[in-house]
Symmetry: C2
Subunit: 324 residues, 2 copies
């Protein structure tokens, strides 16, 4: 049976062995650059963790796990062009280091590479996993489009936000889990349950991510705290606060969102105060608990011996900052 440590080591080894042709350099170098930048490797770990529920042979899920990680990195590459982001994991983004055309085309190649890796899965499983990959990947594109649509709207509802992060963040984690289970030999019902667990877990993860951006510890988290507030990002916290704030608080919140003169730190503190007062923070925390609890309950029900669930459970806990 594989421990979380075994799984992580296998995954890192496989990632390190990915290799692409040297030419044309402007097509393949940005892909190497992007894949070598690190990251938490959440999705391939989930694929392998779900394979491990049903099999000790994780090699079966390795190509698909790699494909899903490459796909995730492709979305970051193209999102960075669309968001005009200049930094990613502490380094220049591809469209800054090279140029937007290179970023577009090497991203396209990366998406194809993701399929190329996943297609190395067992031939008899391809007709099961391809539709999941396609639906999942398309869901991520839909989520990104909704996220961009939301930028110009002040009336996004909490339900719309949950649906958007369900597409942008959760479906890929859900698909990663379902595919890992299938490749491990799960029956379709169990694999479908793990897809549902992934949807809950992915939603909990994104809401926790929103909380950390506002309430996290820079030293621990490695990002600037308060960026979401500073740039008026429509997180669950802001959407809830916009919905709940009354009277003076409501006025003040709209003023803070519209202002171009209030300083960064002052704005962050003032918005946080409204998040606390309106209960937006508490409600977001409660949602994280609820979604995480639902994911855990589904995993508990999977009919395999408990010891097999250890790696996956540890991954899930880490995703919402509940490491023991």
């Amino acid at each position: 049976m594989n421990s979380l440590k075994d799984i992580a080591a296998l995954m890192e080894h496989a990632l390190g062995k990915l290799s692409l042709p040297p030419e044309p350099a402007l097509l393949y170098e940005p892909i190497h650059y992007t894949l070598q930048a690190g990251g938490k490797r959440i999705r391939p770990l989930l694929t392998l963790g779900c394979c491990a529920l049903f099999s000790d042979d994780l090699q079966k899920a390795l190509p698909a796990a790699m494909g899903i990680e490459v796909f995730h990195n492709f979305t970051l590459l193209h999102d960075d062009i669309m968001d005009n982001s200049s930094l990613r994991r502490g380094r220049d983004t591809v469209h800054v280091k090279w140029n937007p055309n290179v970023a577009i085309l090497s991203g396209d190649a990366m998406l194809i590479y993701a399929y190329d890796l996943a297609a190395k899965s067992a031939p008899e499983k391809l007709s099961q996993i391809m539709p999941i990959l396609n639906r999942t990947f398309m869901g991520v594109c839909e989520g990104q489009q909704y996220d961009m649509d939301f930028e110009s709207r002040l009336d996004v509802s909490p339900d719309e936000y949950i649906r958007m992060i369900g597409l942008k963040t959760a479906v890929l984690m859900a698909g990663a889990m379902q595919i890992g289970a299938i490749l491990g030999g799960a029956d379709p019902a169990a694999a479908q349950c793990l897809y549902q667990a992934g949807m809950q877990l992915g939603t909990a993860f994104q809401l926790q991510d929103d909380l950390l951006d506002t309430y996290g510890d820079t030293a621990v988290w490695g990002k600037n705290i308060g960026d979401d507030i500073a740039c008026n990002k429509k997180t669950f916290l802001l959407i809830k606060a916009l919905e709940q704030a009354q009277g003076e608080d409501k006025e003040r919140l709209h003023e803070l969102l519209a202002s171009t003169t209030i300083g960064r730190e002052e704005k962050i503190e003032a918005v946080k105060a409204i998040y606390d007062k309106t209960g937006a923070r508490k409600e977001t925390e409660a949602h994280v608990e609820r979604y995480f609890g639902e994911a855990s309950a589904i995993i508990d029900q999977i009919p395999v011996e408990e010891a097999r669930k250890e790696p996956l459970k540890k991954m899930a806990e880490a995703l919402v900052g509940r490491e023991k």
Copy 2:
């Protein structure tokens, strides 16, 4: 047995039935817009024409044929951003009609949609056709990158150019043919022969396209004649002329390429004169003949009754303007 007319009707009907979700509109509308713009539908016809060599049931190849056509249109959409083209088939390009972000993301969705369609092929064939699709799609990206690399070079050799169009244009036609054959029930050797025929045919087609841009009839061809010359596009004609021109001609050609003051028509006539004098035109025409002849010879060798080859042969002839 299916005639070319049957095949074309089946293909158009299937294209007309493609349907995508209505929301998010900014993701899916540009895909509809792009697919409805028309085009010669060369690649799906080749897929069906090769399926028809081995089977009367063309439905087997229809999803893959649609996927390949969607992929081709995806490449046009993203290429138009990279080339900063504002018109495609007489209409605004997607990045002009909407914006570059919409064009990037809807293009990504289109690439996923291409895979989604192709994955609806018979489950037992997926493990054969997926690697061909992946290799082919990646080849097209490589070709596009080489094409962009060539823009800033004056020393591109004829062999390099043939290799570039082999990737940018021919591999997709070759893959379309191989996949159609496999889905029709061809044995791997026959399918591989049709891939080779597609490489030859695709190369002949692109060289013929280069010739038409310079020597075609606007009324028949529907494009402005001489655009390639006007914008110094590195076609086979120009590369050959740069290689062959001597003395005064060489000097004059470099002068024409560098000048920003010579008028469009004067430049076109002067460059054409050098193409004639250096033999660049004759050599390009001879290459079209040779590649087309090799494609035809391969198709002649395929061990199926001659009547089955009629649609494919007619398609091949149309591609190089040899309709009888």
